[in-house]
Amino acid sequence: MRTTESTSTLSAHDKLWQAGEQHQTDNTERDLLRVRERNRAHILEQLAGDIDIFTIMHSIVESIQEEDTGSICTILLYDKETNTLGSGVGPGMPKFYNDAIDGISVGEGIGSCGTAAFSKQLVTVDDIGTHPYWAAFKELAFKAGVQSCWSQPILSSKGEMVGTFAIYHREPRTPEPVDLERIAYGARFANLAIENRRNRAEILEHRNHLEKLVAERTEALRHANEELEAFSYSVSHDLRAPLRAIAGFSNIMIEDYSDKLDADGQKTLNTIVVNALRMGTLIDDILSFSKLSRAEKINTELDMKAIFRNVYDELIRQEPAGHKVVFELGELAPSFGDQAMIAQVVTNFVSNALKYSRNTSETHIIVSSTDNGDSTTYSVKDNGAGFDEKYKNKLFKIFSRLHNDRDFEGTGIGLSIVKKVIERHGGTVSAEGELGKGATFSFSLPKA
């Protein structure tokens, strides 16, 4: 309970008290409003911070006691499960009193508070000594030195019982209109604070739950990733070894038993070798595809022209000698992204252009870039086998091919790697083509 009182508050109270008989002056009203505003601002500040609900209820009780000097206020909280009132605040009441009413039942005639909580109505007991509601608690109240008790139910915004706000006085007293306004205000403010803190606790609980959920999912994802890692590890190791044996021993057969094998037999063994090698390429391609999504992306400035030039120079060395190629490399806008990944994309586009134009008398490859404002598109145009636009949607799908392996070898993984890389960079891929007349493959990269 407050131990010091400012004189201005005292005089304000006195004048207010007189207002019941005389005419209330503007001055006292302003003083009281000032007190209320100051306390309200203080409590709202507490509410905005991390202060616990009991401290805040304490402040509310003290603010009303400051307005109504000599009063003793209490807040009791309603417990729905047991239908009782308790665990509230009453800093002006002796401890024995607070202890005694902690857990009192809600019901008609159980003091002012029990009755108020029961009826959801204001209960004003002007004289504890004579009122039937207090018959059982009269001695306790006298021992605590109080003779009147008005109790206002605290109702939530949905109208549910939250608790009671009570004002006691040391002498029998009947409430004036200003008292009724004040007790209603105290109950409303108490409800605001309690609801706020309960909502906050609920949000906190939700947040903790969400954080726990996120942690669980992250852990599950990490586990799945680990399994994938272990899986691709054993794919890379265990699947390759038998293939090496198949290819190797077929070769031993060809080398050591060539005199015993006729042309058909040799051809059969060659087919075995070729297919084992194809399987090996397939495994390598699948692995690099799965590694791509796990690899860290390191962004740097990209000299796109240099990347295309280097890739082409490397690839043209591996081309069959008879393949005539004209490579037209225009001025390319620089870009931004992962050097190794983009080089892989470029390698794929250029090697496709070379591969699918192998049957033309003179291959013509044109590389260009166009500015789209917020992105740049890089295109590789060739005059090779092209493709039927009807099957365009299959181009970038994994394992899906538009050409027979006999005509153009491949695993059907290359363009799906391209798509994955470009999408990780926030860009798009596209293709245009006409069967027998060539194709243009493009990718766009956002500007940094």
């Binding site: 265990d238 070894a241 090496r244 044996a245 290819a247 070769n251 090698l277």
Partner: protein, 149 residues
């Protein structure tokens, strides 16, 4: 302790097929006369450190070809023990493995491997790789004189 300077090459490889292919390639190019093949990492350690049932005195091969994934004791563990042994520290060890995993390559080099070779599936390439390894480490490379301990 007497040091046994043979075999010329110790091959530690759990897959018989791979061992056959390796030995075949080495012999094809007349690179070796003498090769010892062991099937797992524990046999290799027993053999190298004279702790096995064979009771061989410490063997110091001219070259050790080591697979990575081996039963009982893996290739990286064998490598670690070789590198912490006085008598074997300077013996060339070549990892010949199917694993292209960056972590394995990194770890092998950290432990002091001399070369790391991913075994090609194609036999011609495989034979070529083995030939290069043999040529370089058995013919070209000049090892330090064996310690006289």
């Amino acid at each position: 302790m007497t040091i046994k300077e043979y075999p010329e090459v110790l091959l530690v490889e759990d897959r018989e097929e791979d061992a056959t292919l390796t030995i075949r390639a080495l012999k094809k190019y007349n690179l070796i006369n003498d090769i010892k093949w062991l099937e797992d990492g524990q046999y290799a350690l027993d053999y190298l450190f004279g702790t096995g049932p064979e009771k061989v005195l410490q063997a110091v091969p001219k070259l050790i070809l080591l697979d990575l994934k081996l039963p009982r004791v893996n290739g990286l563990e064998v490598l670690e023990q070789i590198r912490s042994s006085e008598g074997l520290r300077s013996t060339p060890v070549i990892m010949m493995t199917s694993s292209k995993e960056d972590v394995d390559i990194k770890k092998a080099y950290e432990l002091g491997v001399n070369s790391y070779i991913v075994k090609p599936i194609d036999f011609a390439n495989f034979a070529e790789a083995v030939k290069q390894v043999g040529l370089y480490w058995l013919m070209l490379n000049q090892p330090p004189a064996p310690s006289q301990k």
